[in-house]
């Protein structure tokens, strides 16, 4: 099974406020608020750690959740953020200059 690699877009601004991550798309000023688990994935989205590794470390080790459930939720979340242009997704590691 091919894993995914995720990196935060450079076309955004993000800030942790009151425990919630708020992301603003610089392209259209849209605001997105992440829950606690999504925030952990977002913060770990370094472009080089596979999504499954991120879910294991940032979600399963921290929250009481089954790994497959967590991974499925993460895939949905990643697809939604990618569709909104705030997260980049690739089948290979994403280097900073890409």
């Amino acid at each position: 099974m091919t894993d995914k690699f995720i990196a935060r877009s450079t076309e955004i601004a993000a800030r942790l406020l009151g425990g919630e991550m708020i992301i603003m798309s610089a392209a259209d000023s849209r605001l997105i608020t992440l829950n606690e688990q999504a925030t952990c994935i977002w913060q770990a989205a370094d472009g080089v750690t596979p999504l499954r590794g991120i879910v294991d470390r940032a979600v399963c080790d921290v929250f009481d959740v089954e790994p497959e459930v967590a991974y499925r939720d993460a895939e949905t979340f990643v697809s939604e953020l990618a569709a909104q242009g705030v997260l980049r997704v690739s089948d290979s590691p994403i280097l900073p200059a890409e």
Binding site: A13, R15, M24
Partner: protein
């Protein structure tokens, strides 16, 4: 031979902009429009040169603000064209002899200047009580003007429409502005440290409720005046809004429109 230029310095939020015009009648229009915000003694290098166009009936329409390749801001609406060069703090405006076009130009130029200094203009009324400033924010119809109309007589009104917020040390300061809505007159040219931001809602009684930070950020961003289609500047404004919310408490103020609401604002 160049025509004699007349100068009017309009100072808002401790930032003075010199407006130059060759037309003495337009100078009188500026003096009347900006009243107590005219400060001939202010030290400033910021300057707008206004070239007046022949009278006509231009439509206002939407304003478009964009950065062109030469590092200049282009600010265009149906009734004016402005080029602003942030690097040297100078700009030019083409408009007819009316106070409304230059009023809008000033609002936008101030948003561009403030964005780089951690401040912003906000759709809100504001007032000073007991030496502290309060912002009352909301879109049209939220009650911004109603609230300041209900204020006790000893409460200086900073504006009923557009508040000027500048980072201070510590916290933030709100300044009076000449920008007004239904109140029909400019705010007082004074300032005070900011005590709270209230998002307005009308209701059957008066109450104050906390607003979670993420929701406060969403509401604040919705009400910050920002026109530029420039990603870097949009990011700056977002960070400024978040910084602001970490320093100034935000609440929802539900109010019934009578003077008792001011018993809560102290």
């Amino acid at each position: 031979m160049s025509p004699e230029l007349h100068s009017v310095q309009v100072e808002i939020g401790k930032t003075a902009i010199r407006i130059l015009t060759a037309d003495p009648e337009f100078r009188e229009i500026l003096l009347a429009r900006f009243g107590s915000f005219v400060n001939p003694a202010a030290q400033t290098s910021l300057q707008l040169s206004v070239r007046l166009l022949a009278p006509g009936t231009p439509t206002e329409g939407d304003v478009h603000v964009s950065m062109n390749g030469g590092g200049q801001w282009s600010i265009v609406r149906g009734d004016f064209r402005c080029l602003w060069q942030p690097a040297i703090g100078e700009g030019s405006v083409e408009q007819t002899a009316n106070p409304y076009s230059i009023d809008t130009v000033l609002r936008i130029v101030h948003t561009l200047i403030l964005a780089r200094e951690g401040g912003f203009l906000l759709h809100s009324s504001s007032a000073v009580r007991n030496g502290r400033a309060f912002l009352f924010s909301g879109l049209s119809g939220a009650g911004k003007t109603t609230l300041v109309r209900l204020a006790p007589p000893d409460v200086p009104i900073l504006t009923d429409e557009i508040s000027y917020v500048r980072r201070a040390s510590p916290g933030y300061t709100a300044f009076g502005t000449p920008f007004f809505g239904e109140f029909g007159r400019p705010g007082e040219n004074t300032s005070a440290p900011l005590a709270a931001l209230y998002f307005l809602a009308k209701g059957p009684d008066n109450r104050i409720d906390p607003v979670p930070p993420a929701e406060a950020a969403r509401l604040l961003m919705r009400n910050i005046l920002f026109f530029a289609e420039d990603k870097r500047l949009v990011q700056l404004v977002f960070q400024s809004a978040c910084d602001f919310l970490q320093a100034v408490p935000a609440y929802r103020l539900t109010f019934f429109p009578d003077a008792r609401v001011w018993e809560l604002i102290r």
